[in-house]
């Protein structure tokens, strides 16, 4: 019975999270097009539904019914496997993200955390592990297409993902040091209080006003954001699919649902990195002010809302960057990753460690 309830609750949570994520992915495409067009004096989709609001549905239907082509000379197995390898790791990471206050409810005698699917003690590592698997989808898809553009796109993507994954990993270490935990829930809980306790400001870990400066994770935050943009192959780091050079990179030969998988994976990854960013740096579901403004039994709404706002702010940042910045050259990208981001992240770790070791505890 316990087992059943536990499993049932897990299934419900997974379904809700997946539903929300998928819906977000769908309307994120529309939102992106709209935001881009607003920033560029255009209109964006206007034909399907009022102000083009049903465009994602039209796109979905189109992609669903589109002819599924496997190029001659392609490796059929890997060609089919690649989109799945791309999509699954993108979705799997949502399992450890806390969407709301860390509460527990009793259901038929079972303790359930309603706002997180599972709180595992190495949550952040878990996400990193699976995100790194996502590179296989890209690289194998590019290779299996038997197309030089695809292969180049795949190789670029893999190199880029590996390089920037390193930076992501190093950027969050500062946060981990401050939190002393790998669990997403713990990290979020440690930032409770007010905006000052958020890791980006870094005052929540004791010590007072005089030495808050060295433990602020602002540098790590910037490194993380930039690396996250690169990790998700978004502009200005969308070299793997650089239309002007590589047609569509590793996706060149894909069409129909396989293409849609890649597409969804990209947007899901965007959401995921936004979630991580808000949990790690912006206090997750915590409001910037202390306490809550709602009655205690409804305060979870406030938490979820704040979390949502933060995530959407990040997503908007993605669009904003895309609308503003041109694409980097590949060597610039690599140099930036290894020669700027990496030292910054390392420096952040060193300083944070020293400060934490000597001044805290």
């Amino acid at each position: 019975m316990e087992m059943l309830v536990f499993a049932g609750a897990a299934v419900v949570k997974i379904a809700v999270v997946m539903g929300v994520v998928l819906l977000t992915v769908a309307f994120l495409t529309l939102a992106e097009r709209k935001v881009l067009s607003w920033m560029q004096d255009r209109m964006g989709p206007m034909e399907v539904g009022p102000y083009g609001t049903l465009q994602p549905i039209a796109d979905g239907i189109k992609l669903f019914f589109k002819e599924d082509i496997i190029p001659a000379g392609a490796n059929r197995f890997l060609f089919s496997l690649a989109p799945i390898l791309s999509l699954v790791p993108a979705f799997i990471g949502f399992a450890v993200v806390p969407y709301g206050p860390n509460r527990e409810i009793e259901l038929f005698g079972v303790t359930i955390k309603p706002f997180i699917i599972t709180d595992i003690n190495i949550g952040i590592l878990y996400i990193l592990a699976f995100v790194s698997i996502g590179a296989y989808g890209v690289i194998l898809g590019g290779w299996a297409s038997n197309n030089k553009y695809s292969l180049l796109g795949g190789l670029r993507s893999a190199a880029q993902v590996i390089s920037y994954e390193l930076n992501i990993g190093l950027a969050i270490i500062g946060v981990l040091i401050l939190s002393g935990s790998l669990s997403m829930v713990t990290i979020a809980e440690k930032q409770a209080g007010s905006i000052l306790n958020w890791n980006i400001i870094g005052m929540g870990h004791g010590g007072g006003i005089w030495w808050w400066f060295p433990v602020t994770q602002i540098v790590a935050f910037v490194v993380y954001i930039i690396s996250a943009v690169a990790e998700t192959n978004r502009l200005p780091f969308d070299l793997p699919e650089a239309e002007s050079e590589l047609v569509a990179g590793w996706m060149t030969e894909y069409s129909g649902m396989r293409f849609a998988f890649f597409f969804m994976a990209e947007y899901a990854n965007m959401i995921l990195v936004s979630c991580i960013a808000s949990v790690l740096f912006l206090g997750g579901y915590h409001a910037p002010y202390p306490g809550t403004r709602l009655p205690d039994n409804l305060s979870w709404i406030e938490g979820v809302a704040w979390f949502t706002v933060k995530v959407y702010a990040f997503l908007f940042l993605f669009f904003w960057l895309r609308a503003t910045l041109p694409r980097l050259r590949y060597d610039q990208l690599m140099r930036f990753g290894w020669k700027v981001m990496l030292p910054l992240a390392l420096g952040n770790i060193v300083i944070t460690s020293i400060v934490v070791y000597f001044l805290r505890d």
């Binding site: 935001v35 067009s37 607003w38 920033m39 560029q40 004096d41 255009r42 209109m43 206007m46 904003w320 960057l321 609308a323 503003t324 910045l325």
Partner: protein, 185 residues
């Protein structure tokens, strides 16, 4: 100076300036609503075309309904993308009078450069302002003489007088010999 440069680099100053520009546009569009999209919702709204717009090419007629085209092939040779095929011939019953027996324009290849219109010695070609010519079958875009004349009739209701009535001194330019005065002796 160098310090300022460093600060700018470290704070991504240029990028922030760019981001300010884009967000400003967004704010003006969505919040202040004092900026309009330049997009034209094409099938619902249409652009006012300038008079010199180069759309579909048409063949013209004289006011008595006869083709202006003399089948001289100059448009064919002027055309940079080999759109035009002229098959010229003699007018039945009027010796030495030349006309285009068949005239084809393969609009799939046309650049709308207008060189044919310039090349035409009798102004038989003109560019209309028609542009909505999407077809399901691209072979439908190989227009024959009748279609091109119909285009001309549709777009140019006012027709010119015949050449010999316009310029008496070139009176024997391609009008055959039927209506010429007899030879002075």
């Amino acid at each position: 100076m160098a310090v300022a440069q460093w600060v700018k680099t470290l704070t991504f100053y240029e990028i922030l300036v760019g981001m300010k520009a884009t967000i400003t546009v967004l704010i003006q569009r969505i919040i202040l609503r004092n900026r309009k999209a330049i997009t034209l919702q094409y099938p619902h709204e249409k652009r006012e075309l300038p008079g010199t717009y180069r759309g579909m090419i048409a063949l013209l007629r004289y006011d008595d309904g006869t083709d202006k085209c003399v089948g001289c092939d100059l448009c064919e040779s002027a055309c940079p993308s080999r759109v035009i095929t002229v098959i010229s011939s003699e007018v039945e019953g009027e010796p030495m009078k030349r006309y285009a027996k068949e005239y084809y324009m393969d609009m799939t290849r046309c650049l709308f450069c207008g060189l044919c219109v310039q090349a035409c010695p009798v102004d038989a070609l003109a560019m209309t302002t028609e542009y909505e010519w999407a077809k399901y079958n691209k072979r439908d875009l190989r227009l024959n003489k009748e279609q091109l004349l119909a285009l001309g009739d549709r777009n140019f209701p006012v027709r010119e007088k015949k050449l010999e009535f316009q310029h008496p001194n070139v009176a024997y330019f391609n009008i055959g010999h039927k209506n010429l005065p007899p030879k002075e002796s």
